[in-house]
Symmetry: C2
Subunit: 235 residues, 2 copies
DNA sequence: CCAAAGCAAGAGCAGTGCTCTCTAATGTGG
DNA sequence: CCACATTAGAGAGCACTGCTCTTGCTTTGG
């Protein structure tokens, strides 16, 4: 008699499937956080879940597919953290929002080092991220573009002139990413975006050992300089 | 009668040892370049060399030790490439030497992606680089400091004032790395150093796919902006 | 109600890092 | 010059990995 409720799609089996899939990802994420991507073992995940390793292949066709799922989750987690930080700084001037987002990225990276390494470190060998990851991967970049856009619509942004050889490329990038913004701003914003991850990566991967001690202050200043480089002003 | 020549240290056995050690590293480097660090297999190296895997442990006590040797070599190779680029630009102004070194780093990274990933990507899981790597790892950084020093001794460098919270740290860094240079220059130089690797890493690890097309021009401009940020001027 | 599809389990293959034991070649001191 | 000690290599073996295939069992939809 009682028909399946709409939030119970396709009966108990399908529900079990999403639950098991989630459990696998959770356990995999635990191992990832504990030991790093290369030591993530399908067999160990299955063992911990009380199932046999071959059963796991019903849910993820290969180890790489599992990693892809974790990569997307990591991008989304980082993106959400960055967006939350931006929302919290909603009232501030764009330059301060920029710094807030940079600090959120750094904070997330320090809290999830192995997941950060998974998405921004060396790509897992022989593995190249599929198209599926693109939307999640783009979130932080889009957020930064949004901040620059807000600044531009308020007061405009300071423009550093581009060399002739870069003008066509900058115009192309602007047309593709933010046609309403000046190419100079887009070009410097993309450079700053990449440089942000240089700062975070160096701290995370130990390159700052015995070099930078007060990393929090160092990073805050560097992020502020990046904002300045993009043309944002602290009012 | 004929005593062992001085360039044949400790007889034939020791000589064979260095040769075999070198052969192992060479083959390992080949596999590293072909497949990446995680797929580097001791057994495959041994197989290729016509020896049995256990024999390899006479030369490297573990896979990690082999990787460490490769890491040091990679750092040295990169450092040599950077130094060569600097030497070639010896006559130019410091800002141009800076850009030349940056481009050399990028060029080396594009030519040796897996080795670059080995040293600047995520550290190999569970592995932390031992002290032995430090001197080789420092070469590019020291080179950049040298360029800033030359600029400072010629015309001085443009100084961007530091926020109060960063002053002590900047003074500490300057005292440790280059007591003869102003703290502002050292602080911005270290940030630029890290940011350089953000630019290279993003390009190498595919983050610029569908975003930046003319990467050469983009990078050159970004490197020039870094030089400017450090206080170097293109005269 | 019954065939079809989904699922878990087990065995098995080829590969890995690493250890241990044994033999043979190579050095070295008396 | 020879006995002893050191060292290189070989082979077997352990515990692990990703992945495949077959075999039954359970759920599901017509």
């Amino acid at each position: 008699m009682n028909a399946p409720r709409p939030n119970a799609p396709q009966g108990a089996r399908a529900r079990a499937r999403i639950e098991v899939t989630a459990a696998i990802k959770d356990e995999a994420r635990r191992q990832l956080a504990a030991e790093g991507a290369a030591k993530l073992s399908l067999r160990a995940v299955a063992r911990e879940l009380g199932m046999v390793s071959s059963a796991l292949y019903r849910y993820f066709p290969s180890r790489d597919e599992l990693l892809t799922a974790l990569i997307i989750d990591a991008y989304d987690s980082l993106g959400a953290a960055a967006e939350a930080a931006d929302a919290k700084a909603a009232g501030a001037v764009p330059a301060e929002r920029w710094v807030a987002v940079c600090e959120a990225v750094r904070g997330w990276a320090l809290a999830h080092p192995h997941e950060y390494a998974l998405i921004y470190g060396s790509p897992v060998p022989g593995y190249s991220a599929p198209e599926t990851t693109i939307p999640s991967a783009a979130r932080v970049g889009l957020l930064l573009i949004g901040i620059v856009r807000d600044a531009y619509q308020r007061n405009g942004v300071a423009r550093t002139p581009l060399p002739a050889e870069l003008k066509p490329e900058a115009q192309r990038m602007a047309a593709a990413l933010a046609p309403d913004l000046p190419p100079e701003a887009i070009a410097s914003m993309i450079a700053a975006w990449a440089q942000l991850y240089g700062l975070v990566g160096f701290e995370l991967f130990g390159q700052f050992n015995k070099v930078v001690e007060d990393r929090e202050a160092f990073f805050r200043h560097a992020a502020a300089r990046l904002a300045h480089e993009v043309g944002l002003v602290f009012s």
